[in-house]
Amino acid sequence: MAQPAGLLYSKEHEWVKVEGDVGTVGITDYAQNSLGDIVYVELPRVGQGVKQFASIGVVESVKAVSDLFAPIGGEVLEINTALEADPALVNRDAFGAGWLYKVKLSDPKERDGLLAPGDYDALVAEGAH
């Protein structure tokens, strides 16, 4: 499946959409599909600083707890509060309404450590994690 263009991807199956110095972060459709029914999302706090690739929360499906890693570093500006009542939004619309949080980038050059859509496609095709 082709990944949405305009986003950057981590090897841990997060995506980030960078607009100016703000990044919107989520998990990929591949990730939500692998996890199955998502029942709980634990996000960083607004104002919290997150380091690129650090573990900053969890996404829990019925059967498993998965760490959430920050695809890019910065200060958390906003979290998707709709997920508190309806975490399955991540299943239904991983690249849209199921976004997780927004971050003010600390270093735009960190984007170089992420994958372009085609490279992430290749990663998923390998079934690598």
Binding site: G36, D37, V39, Y40, E42, V58, E60, V62, K63, V65, E84, A88
Partner: protein, 346 residues
């Protein structure tokens, strides 16, 4: 697919929550062919089985099914099982993971009963369960006998879609339903036929994930979680099945002592207050002191999506109404002890 008891088992087909919803409101079909099916023959089966288990086998009526537990000398659970009494034999259904252990144990305990003949159907026999409020209307048209007249926890020998079957009104979901014990060779065709015929009634294939969620809501123990070799039937909440008025059976003395002292850690049912799910192994606290750990946990769609759990806790923490804490990633979340089952069909 996951490896489970030597079988490749589906955790889910269309999604665990969707499968759960189908079973509670319409019907789900489960492939449980991984379960061990042993046939027990001989006049002394009831006396022999009664000497190894906590519940009564000898008092079972023909075609009755009964839950039972094999215990060790310390009162721990070797396995929890179902006996089905037939005119010429008993069918004993054991957990997949325990099937090799139980087969060896049973064969090692027959010395005093030379008339016994045991047959191991694990791997050659199949088991298909259809569970849910619409199970009857899906299963009945394929059967050559009156399954509507079958009482809960009874069985009948007949044919399903022409194939010989033991048809039982049993299950492990908290819903009405049937379990069809079949020859392995007949099972794929019957699976497909049931799925096809059940489509209009909303039948869905369901996997181990939904089954675990359904059984937990219904307060049914799962071997390795609520009971195991270190957790007795009493501690595991299955004291109702322990018939202490039976003559001698393996583990009876230990269980009587547990009853007398009543100091053992035991399974408590918990409803969590927050949205964070508990997981097996998470610490359980009473007034800040660690007094146990979570054994099973799940979101419970039948309880408005609340998180529920079972935990093995100190006796003084197990009383219904007690507020305990569950430590989830370093934070303590409140949970209330409630009576089992979490869910009862109306």
């Amino acid at each position: 697919m996951v490896p489970f008891g030597g079988f490749e088992m589906p955790v889910q087909y269309g999604g665990i929550l969707r499968e759960h919803e189908a079973v509670r409101h319409r019907a789900g079909i489960f492939d449980l062919s991984h379960m061990g099916q042993f046939e027990l023959r001989g006049a002394s089966v009831p006396a022999w089985a009664d000497s190894l288990t906590v519940n009564s086998v000898g008092t079972m009526k023909p075609f009755q099914a009964r839950y039972n537990i094999f215990t060790n000398e310390l009162g721990g659970c070797l396995d929890d099982v179902l006996f089905y009494r037939l005119p010429d034999r008993f069918l004993l259904v054991v957990n997949a993971g325990n099937a090799p252990k139980m087969w060896a144990y049973l064969n090692g305990s027959t010395a005093l009963h030379p008339d016994l003949s045991l047959t191991n159907g694990h791997g050659s026999r199949a088991l298909i369960a259809v569970q849910g409020p619409r199970a009857l209307e899906i299963v009945a048209p394929l059967c050559d006998c009156d399954v509507a007249a079958l009482k809960y926890y009874y069985c009948v020998e007949g044919r399903v879609d022409g194939a010989p079957a033991l048809i039982a009104r049993t299950g492990y979901t908290g819903e009405d339903g049937f379990e069809l014990f079949l020859e392995g060779a007949d099972a794929p065709r019957i699976w497909r036929t049931l799925l096809e015929r059940g489509r209009d009634a909303g039948l869905e294939a369901a996997g181990l994930g939904a089954r675990d969620m359904l059984r937990l809501e219904a307060g049914m123990p799962l071997y390795g979680f609520e009971i195991d070799e270190d957790i007795s039937p009493l501690a595991g909440g299955q004291g109702w099945a322990v018939k202490t008025n039976k003559p001698e059976f393996v583990g009876k003395a230990a269980l009587l002592e547990q009853v007398a002292h009543d100091g053992y850690d035991r399974i408590a049912a918990l409803v969590l207050e927050g949205r964070a799910p508990a997981r097996t192994g998470y610490p359980v606290l009473l007034n800040g002191e660690r007094i146990g750990a979570v054994r099973s946990a799940s979101i419970a769609p039948s309880l408005d999506g609340k998180n529920v759990a079972t935990a093995l806790v100190r006796k003084d923490a197990a009383a219904v109404g007690t507020t305990l804490g569950i430590e989830i990633r370093g934070t303590v979340h409140a949970a209330r002890v409630v009576p089992l089952p979490f869910y009862k069909r109306s």
